[in-house]
Amino acid sequence: MGTTFIFTVITLSVLGLLLAVVLFLVAKKFNVEEDPLIDVVEATMPGANCGGCGFAGCRAFAEACVKSRSLDGKFCPVGGNAVMQKVAAAMGVQAEEKAPMVAVVRCNGTCQNRVRVNEYDGSVSCRIISSLYAGDTGCRFGCLGGGDCERACPFGAIKVNPETLIPEVDEEKCTACGACVRACPKGVIELRNKGPKNRRVYVSCMSQDKGAVARKACSAACIGCRKCEKVCPFGAITVENNLAYIDFNKCKLCRKCVAECPTGAIHAVNFPPKPAAAPAEEPKTDKQ
């Protein structure tokens, strides 16, 4: 009994020692030299692994930064400028400042504005709907309401409103990683400048149909009338294919276009409400 016990302990100890030596040698032989800077940079990252930077995850981004020794064209939308400053400091380079962005849903085809012309009872996924047909409304450009963006968002920042069937973005949570932009088969979602005090002006429509057709399908559609293009003092608005687009780099938020738009397709968000004692002013749309 005693000998068996001692024998077992000795064999296992010797075996353990031998294997430890083997492991040590193998680890020496196949050692991968890695820049310790990668770990430092990775530690400064948010760790969301969302892929918003265009790399497979935070570590891949850190590797790419360290390998190229520069931050040109690399930006972590989740961490924003604060994180990029830290990354730049760790690497000893300069980070370029970028204006923060936010996802914007460019469709206001709510159940009220856009009449349903048929009933869809298949699988609820925008990708599937758009591969099958034009959608359950008269507009084939707008939001399908299937919620692919909601499922794609790693931050829970975009949710389809069950009443309007249009997704809404939570500005606090949105990191502008672009996952929803890639998920949307209709290209309705765009990343736009967050703007000073989160104030933004944008065209909330994607319809390239001619005015009458677009208007018939949706009461909040851009009809391509070019009134906004004419009124804009900064040349920020272009109308192409019956659809207006506001260049957020040129827009100075004067909101002349908002008052001019006959269908209310241009939205101005986060502006303080105008005092009621200004009846000369046109009423403006102030919704998200």
Binding site: S123, S125, R127, A134
Partner: protein, 445 residues
């Protein structure tokens, strides 16, 4: 032993309630909407302008590429517009819109009812005539027939198979053609065999159509000995090219391959009839047989219908849409497409309008996969639909490719058989399109 394909398949109720309705000629509507995209491949180029006078059978859309087809006017009258018009899926497609005036046919078309039996044209002339007349495959995919009859160099067809399976429930247009125009169908087959240079032909018919089999057997025995009639055990999707080839000849089309890789060319009964009319009567493809059916309709119909007739006119003619209708489908219930826009018009390959009730179309609530393996048993291509569905939902494109999602023929057997009501095909079809796009975008070796 009756033959059928070896792998998978399901047995939906065949519901051929319109089988005994003889083909009726549908009256001409006032306005025709002729799509320029009635075939696989590049849309045809419109040749007419607003205000032009056209005659029945006149070329109005020219083939625009190797895989494309000519389009002919199905009526005589004045062109009202050449503009995008909404198709059945709600997307705008270029259409020639014609206001109908009388019915004046091109003089080159032989309108006599006599059957022309002598095939005088040479193989090259036959293929040219088929291309000129805009004949496309009427089995569903609308692949231009002249392309199918010109095998790529180095490949040789050994057999021609005429597809008379009509495995989709409800559809009876091919059946009526085989009963009423049996000899023309066989002549069409003989013409295509001449064009291909093959001496052996088959016509595969499912055994739920005994009259068609009997009629074809009588005719082939007396005057068409080169064509053999094969009676097939009823099973869906027998009418799929690869399944039909397996059922009739026992050959297998390789993965990613075409029927010609197995030495076979498959053509539908309707196509065969259209080929006969094009080659022997010089009549372009501008009309075809269409089934209008459904339990909720009072009467069942098989119409000889001109291309471009709006669906709403067809439904008006059968007494309007009954109250009980929940879904209108163009094509069969298994692979057809729901019509999202009733003002859309019929195209060359529109084989049916099917009116289904709420009870028949209701999608049951999806539940978890119970790993019963029914979908694997049912898949006629030997795929694993449950796995493809999971991979598709997770967006794993490489794994989808390894599991041969591109072999899916979108027959819907998996979804039909699933006891958990999982919409397998919805996800697989979208994933297949994505994987095919990725594969095509790769540089060629």
């Amino acid at each position: 032993m009756r033959r059928t394909f070896s792998m998978g398949g399901v047995h939906p109720h065949d519901c051929k309630i319109s089988a005994d309705s003889a083909i009726e000629t549908f009256p001409l509507p006032q306005r025709m909407y002729i799509s320029m995209s009635q075939h696989l491949g590049a849309p045809a180029k419109p040749l007419v302008q607003k205000g032009d006078k056209v005659r029945t059978g006149q070329l109005i859309g020219a083939s625009a590429g190797f895989i494309s087809a000519n389009i002919h006017s199905s009526v005589s009258g004045t062109v009202a517009a050449v503009e995008p018009y909404t198709d059945l899926a709600g997307n705008p497609v270029m259409h020639v819109i014609i206001d109908v005036e009388g019915d004046e046919w091109e003089e080159s078309i032989d309108r006599t009812p006599d059957i022309v039996r002598d095939i005088t044209l040479s193989p090259a002339e036959i293929i040219k005539r088929i291309a000129d007349c805009g004949v496309v495959g009427l089995g569903g995919a609308s692949f231009p027939t002249h392309v199918k009859l010109s095998p790529p160099p180095g490949k040789k067809a050994e057999f021609l198979i005429i597809n008379g399976a009509e495995c989709e429930p409800y559809l009876t247009s091919d059946y009526r053609l085989m009963i009423e125009h049996a000899e023309e169908v066989l002549l069409g087959a003989r013409i295509m065999m001449k064009a291909l240079g093959v001496v052996e032909g088959y016509i595969g018919i499912e055994d739920n159509k005994p009259e068609a089999i009997k009629k074809m057997r009588e005719l082939t025995a007396s005057s068409y000995p080169e064509i053999k009639v094969v009676s097939l055990r009823k099973k869906y999707p027998q009418g799929g090219e690869k399944q039909l080839i397996d059922a009739v000849t026992g050959r297998r089309v390789p993965s990613m391959g075409l029927p010609i890789d197995a030495g076979v060319v498959v053509q539908n009964v309707g196509t065969s009839f259209a080929v006969y009319e094009a080659v022997q009567k010089n009549k372009p493809l501008f009309e075809g047989v269409m089934t209008v059916t459904g339990e909720c309709l009072d009467s069942q119909h098989n119409f000889l219908l001109r291309v471009g007739t709006p669906f709403e006119k067809i439904l008006e003619a059968v007494g309007g849409v009954p109250q009980k209708t929940a879904k209108i489908i163009s094509g069969g219930p298994m692979m057809g497409k729901a019509v999202a826009n009733l003002s859309a018009a019929s195209v060359k390959s529109t084989s049916s309008l099917l009116l289904l009730t709420e009870k028949q179309t209701k999608r049951m609530e999806e539940s978890e996969c119970i790993r019963c393996g029914k979908c694997v048993q049912a898949c006629p291509m030997g795929l694993e639909p449950y796995l493809l569905n999971k991979l598709a939902r997770a967006g794993r494109m490489e794994d989808l490719e390894h599991n041969k999602v591109y072999d899916c023929i979108e027959c819907g057997c998996c979804m039909f058989t699933c006891p958990a009501y999982i919409p397998l095909l919805d996800y697989i079809r979208t994933a297949k399109a994505d994987v095919m796009r990725i594969m095509r975008s790769r540089p060629k070796k």
